[in-house]
Symmetry: C2
Subunit: 323 residues, 2 copies
Amino acid sequence: MAIAESAAAGGRIVTIGEILVEIMATQPGDGFRAPIELTGPYPSGAPAIFIDQVAKLGQPCAIISCVGDDDFGWVNIDRLKRDGCDVSGIEVRDDQVTGSAFVRYTTSGDRNFVFNIRNSAAGQTRVTEAAAALLADCAHLHVMGSSLSSASLIRETQEAVAAVKGRGGTISFDPNVRKEILGAPDVLQAISYMLSACDIFMPSGAELTMLTEAKTEAAAIAEILGRGITAVVVKRGAEGASYHDSTQDRRIAGFAVTELDPTGAGDCFGATFVTCRLQGRPIADCLRYAAASGALAVTRRGPMEGTSSFAELDALIGEGAVQ
Amino acid sequence: MAIAESAAAGGRIVTIGEILVEIMATQPGDGFRAPIELTGPYPSGAPAIFIDQVAKLGQPCAIISCVGDDDFGWVNIDRLKRDGCDVSGIEVRDDQVTGSAFVRYTTSGDRNFVFNIRNSAAGQTRVTEAAAALLADCAHLHVMGSSLSSASLIRETQEAVAAVKGRGGTISFDPNVRKEILGAPDVLQAISYMLSACDIFMPSGAELTMLTEAKTEAAAIAEILGRGITAVVVKRGAEGASYHDSTQDRRIAGFAVTELDPTGAGDCFGATFVTCRLQGRPIADCLRYAAASGALAVTRRGPMEGTSSFAELDALIGEGAVQ
């Protein structure tokens, strides 16, 4: 595995992308066209959730992002710092407002959003001097498709990817695509670039065939591996996950837990898989820990509230509550 | 009075400035650095509250503003339209997010805010073709100091002022200054310009002496009237208000009501005063209706929830509940 060979088990994992607060409706329904009960601000943003989960596992890590000099920025910085993440790559700007996402579940389980990302501080994320220093000592870089929402964010992300690859580090990519950003110019092209640049590709469900000629799952996996990607990890929510490389296919069932809030589960899964792999653990263990991490995430309300330590993951695994 | 002479009683009142949603903390405390209970989105923005109050009084009116094509924009447009405001001057942009204000009262009654205004759709407010058509048939334009938060907003506002004055319309100005915008370049200068351009100046408390050489209230009023402004109306919250022109000084006590949420009370007061004045009512009646309007506003939770019809104002006045 390129990823295991690329760095010592203690190597730093870095991500680049949006830090947000999430404001959640307490009751399901349609959208935000009348005053309703809400709760927040919760620390959020897919890359931020990812890196907080990495930090909880004790792995050296950092995030490159941008927040406003406001309570919504500090609620995130305080949390990430508390959990062990290096926050030196987070630029704090007093002329910007921290990004936000209002989320409301519909009665059918879909989600309605009101996002402020592109025009928020998150949209100003760039590789500052401090961020460049982090990338200069980085074993692995993780990129979320949700972060590729503007030309400038795509440029900064590709700069970070090039810096890490140039020094022999590895890359993981979670397409994490919402319909909201697919309309933006260059986004599909940027996702294709990431697919060609990454070592580990971690789609959820239908994302697997979104960028392939192949229409079936097996054919899509073969097509992607054929492009030179080391491994494909397919996240399947409550059904668990599967791992595929040129020599093996493995599948793990999901852990049986009571779902309270699915937001962030995929990010936790990915963070735990990448961390375990970087630590040189066997694929089966990486999958098991990742599935446990995703399962615990859904039992907590709030996107970043469900990140877990190895002790917490071991406790769930010890219960043997696989579905 | 220039304002009464300038147009028929049925003339249109227009304002230009920010449309926002407000998200309120349900419990007092300090800021937003941890998840708390919230409620919202409430239609908001000082100019929007002002014009909604004008609409409730049956006066033809319109607002020039900009919102995102999102639930937060539509909750405002739907409300303003329902209450009788012409919404053709509200530009709806799909590349922008509607502005927002998170508000939390401290235990001492101060307010903590997290604003997204300058970088939101509200920051893109401009005199579109539709807005220019509204200004071409406008008896009176009202400007809030809170709307003068960037060079481009100042430019668009001054363009609107010039258009209305050029056709013989009148101008009112509520400095409505928050410390957050006084730091911005050109803001003080823009406020000074409005002070020289307006017919009616409507400060609250300490705002009266903020822009005068004079340090006492009486001297400040004399200084401002000496600059050629027709009338000064000083809003005094629960203590009522006072009116001053070159020939008279009048004072009205506040109505005794139970305060639930003071946000928007000054905007309602100003809207009702300007509307009554434009309708040719005597100063004493204008003050009484305006004070009643401000009083009713504080009895409702939510910035725009406390706008009132003449019937509602008459009911309060009939109760004779002056403090």
